[in-house]
């Protein structure tokens, strides 16, 4: 059997790199302790800012919920006044990895408010379709106004009405429409039909 020779120089290279990596890891671990972000709390804070009524402890089971194509409903909360707040995401936008994440507030089957929660769209371009004035155009609709085929989005234009895409931000506008449709569907499936 051939004997593997390891010279001193190789060991030195390995040790130096390992020590630097170790110190880096320790430093990052310490800083991570102080800068860790509690995503659940961050979401609850955002809802608190957007909607005045406090949240109840009701838990919605989303583990078996099947999302529509290119959308994801990740969180649902119930407020004390009966409103349902849904965090809905669509990847049908310019920055698909981050997607367009909206907080859709529904009360008595009507969309009463939509807030942009997170996105990475281009400022002054895609973000035009995420302003309050644009999103509020959906606030006249009922959850039953949105059209979709089970499992995938086909035509999500609200029945009999439509919100026009923002010129120059068509893709983001479509993402917004998909996210709102996904929230409306989740409301029907998990609140009305449950």
């Amino acid at each position: 059997m051939r004997k593997i020779k390891i010279d001193k120089e190789s060991i030195r290279l390995i040790v130096v790199l390992a020590v630097i990596a170790l110190i880096s890891s320790l430093l990052l671990a310490v800083i991570n302790m102080f800068t860790q972000v509690d995503e659940a709390q961050k979401l609850r804070d955002a809802i608190g800012e957007a909607y005045s009524s406090p949240l109840t402890d009701r838990v919605f089971d989303l583990s078996n919920y099947e999302n529509l194509e290119k959308t994801e409903v990740s969180d649902m909360f119930e407020a004390e006044d009966g409103a349902i707040i849904i965090l809905s995401k669509s990847t049908n936008c310019y920055n698909a990895s981050k997607g367009v994440q909206l907080l859709v507030i529904i009360k008595e089957d009507k969309i009463i408010d939509i807030i942009s929660y997170a996105h990475s769209e281009t400022p002054g371009l895609g973000t035009n379709a995420l302003t309050d004035s644009y999103l509020n155009q959906y606030c006249v609709y009922s959850v039953y106004d949105f059209g979709y085929v089970e499992g995938r989005l086909t035509d999500t234009t609200p029945v009999g009405k439509s919100v026009p895409a923002y010129t120059g931000a068509t893709k983001t506008s479509n993402g917004v429409k998909d996210a709102v449709t996904a929230a409306a569907r989740a409301y029907i499936k998990l609140v009305k039909e449950a």
Partner: protein
């Protein structure tokens, strides 16, 4: 001693103007074009890069005699990655809105060639203080360039100034300025302008230094040159 102090602080000034990373060395072009859709984005990206640059330059300078030559690049990358991760963590916690906009580019600071270039060509060869000054100078120059680029692109592309809407620009704004094509266009034009202005200034400073040197070493020649210049001034003054 006086010369040593000048040598120490020289990288600071040269990094901002003479060796400007964006307009002179043409380094870090990817984040330059990607994040400068708004002036504030450029400013924060520049400051984040400056922090990583100063810290990594300092550490690499301190470790320059310990890091073996054969593994210097992975070692530098490790140091740079550590500081860019720190910036990312801090920004995520304390500046979440900004993190949402440029989170990806903060992580990509690690592959910004300015950092590796300064580590390889300066901090690995120089003591701590000049290395820190070099990082600060290059970083501030980068910040200045990114903010300027962002300012121009935001003003003409989105009709705003540091996020504040400019009324008269609302009907004049041209979206192309905040698109990649506009980014290249503004970058190119600003590079031309910068090199014209700074090049001219550098020529004047050089000429002034030469005159001063001649005056010290050869007073007779200096007098003759002065007389010649006075004669020229007189000639051109007469034409006016």
């Amino acid at each position: 001693m006086k010369r040593n102090i000048r040598d120490t602080f020289e990288p600071l000034t040269s990094g901002v103007i003479k060796n400007n990373a964006t307009f002179r060395l043409v380094l870090g072009t990817c984040p330059t074009l990607a994040v400068t859709t708004a002036a504030l984005n450029g400013l924060y990206m520049g400051l984040a890069t400056t922090f990583v640059l100063v810290c990594s330059n300092a550490i690499i300078s301190l470790l320059r005699k310990i890091i073996p030559r054969k593994v210097r690049i992975p070692a530098y990358i490790l140091v740079i990655a550590t500081f860019s991760t720190i910036v990312e963590m801090v920004m995520r916690k304390f500046l979440p809105d900004l993190y949402e906009v440029m989170g990806l580019f903060i992580a990509l600071i690690v592959v910004n060639c300015i950092l590796l270039a300064r580590a390889e060509s300066f901090s690995s060869l120089n003591p701590l203080l000049p290395s820190v000054m070099d990082g600060l100078g290059i970083g501030l120059g980068f910040t200045m360039s990114l903010t300027l680029l962002g300012l121009v692109r935001e003003f003409f592309g989105a009709g705003s100034f540091f996020g504040l809407t400019v009324g008269f620009m609302q009907n004049l704004k041209m979206t192309v300025f905040i698109l990649p094509a506009g980014g290249f266009m503004v970058y190119g034009l600003m590079m031309v302008l910068y090199n014209l202005v700074v090049g001219e200034l550098e020529k004047k400073i050089e000429a002034y230094k030469n005159r001063k040197y001649i005056a010290l070493t050869n007073p007779l020649l200096a007098e003759q040159e002065e007389a010649e210049q006075a004669r020229r001034r007189g000639l051109f003054g007469g034409n006016k």
